[in-house]
Symmetry: C2
Subunit: 275 residues, 2 copies
């Protein structure tokens, strides 16, 4: 079969969109379409120009024998602002406030189109870091971590707060919850994370940072290097935070449980975007 | 700006790929590109023909004022067979067998490219069902449910085995685990699932079906209608199964813990694909 340019462009576009951050050798397309490399390069250029023009990211070209093209679905600042504005809008609903100053987030992390946007936003911040895995804590971090990892083309590693036979042999640590001051346990299956991995930690909610601090300690047990920490919501109601270097999408403050009032504003992640 | 056909095709392809199972009004593209509807329809036809030719699904056209186009990323039987073969290959590793006849699955549900394929496979089986949500059980079902739900363009609803303040008000049921015969609890936040929803239940592992049976009972509390049940791995080591109507990707049998031996074969889901 002989492919027309428009048909090649449909196939190549869907392939790159479905495989973000993956290096695709040009020979893959050359062989598939039985076309000269120069024509394939022209196709890629059309796709790249359109993606850039539309603010949908870019296509990187890696030269050499082991080279190829890689789709980088980087989000523009304006879109990141729109995503955060939507999050703020959704989070401002009064009924979200739960006892203890928590926010109800289960519906948000169960909304795939929203998660996809949030995942792309966080992934954009860490796209040029050298990473091996996205690490999160069960339960609500999992969907968010998947959304980030699928953009970064990385595996997801899930830390649990209970030990299960289905995890095989595990490493566990005890940590003190920053807000409740209770001692809790974290467990990670040995074979889900290689030693010396470079990781990005993602979670849905951070108050004092006790859980994230626990994750960092657990990462030390795996000799892993923490390259970043990103949370969907951070709560400002904390005197002393255990974690200093992190990005957050939105920030919760002025929680008044009695009057069911609170404030939600943009977190610091927008500062990571260029104009 | 005036768009060329190739540029329109790049944009429309990425949009449809990024929004599977979503009805997109043609006027969205007509307005964006300032083109006659007939040209846009021709663009759609080129994309549709290529997607069909390449076995990547199809584009449905819905006529009328509230109509538009919808990308249906249906998987072909040959690809489904390849996905299941890969799963069998991965699951056959001896070291996966855990005490009690469980299989270690955490690395598989933490592998986004594999999950994407598995999600597409399960979504293809249920794509033409009238569904409102994908329901799963924490922890390992979550990634799988997200993979299925993002293809079906549906929310994910996560049932937990512990009750947390972050869930708000909840409904819970007790159930008897099919294999251990222990009484366990399942909890679902009231506001994550509307009454009378039509749901697809997805989980990673099913033995006797006690957990899934618990989910079905919990769904009754929400007056929900269970339209399907799909699991990644089913274990055949069961005399009497509590669930009859389900699809599985692979089937585990002949577990011999002493010799670390077991058999993995294709489940019944391939029978749902046409040739």
């Amino acid at each position: 079969m002989r492919y027309k340019r428009s048909e090649r462009i449909v196939f190549m576009t869907q392939y790159l969109i479905n495989n973000p951050n993956k290096l695709v050798p040009l020979t893959f397309f050359v062989t598939k379409f039985k076309q000269a490399k120069s024509s394939i390069s022209e196709d890629v250029q059309i796709i790249k120009d359109t993606l850039i023009e539309e603010g949908l990211g870019t296509i990187e070209t890696v030269a050499g024998a082991s080279g190829g093209v890689r789709y980088r679905p980087e989000m523009q600042k304006a879109e990141a602002e729109a995503v955060i504005e939507e999050l703020i809008h959704l989070l401002q609903e009064k009924e979200r406030l739960l006892p203890g100053g928590y926010l109800f987030l289960s519906d948000l992390v169960g909304n795939p189109p929203l998660l996809k946007q949030v995942g792309k936003l966080i992934a954009t911040i860490y796209m040029h870091e050298d990473l091996d895995a996205v690490v999160t804590i069960a339960t609500k971090g999992i969907s968010l971590a998947n959304a980030v990892a699928s953009v970064l083309n990385l595996p997801v590693v899930v830390i649990r707060k209970d030990n299960k036979v289905t995890e095989g042999s595990t490493v566990s640590i005890n940590y003190v919850s920053g807000s409740t001051r209770k001692i809790e346990t974290m467990v990670l299956s040995k074979r889900t994370l290689k030693e010396h991995s470079k990781v990005l930690i993602v979670d849905d909610f951070m108050r004092a940072g006790g859980s994230i601090n626990g994750v960092i300690n657990l990462m030390n047990e795996f000799k892993a290097e923490v390259k970043g920490v990103s949370v969907l919501v951070e709560s400002k109601e904390v005197k002393q935070r255990l974690i200093e270097d992190y990005t957050s999408l939105v920030r919760l403050s002025d929680v008044d449980e009695y009057n069911q009032a609170f404030k939600v504003e943009a977190g610091n992640s927008l500062s990571k975007f260029n104009n």
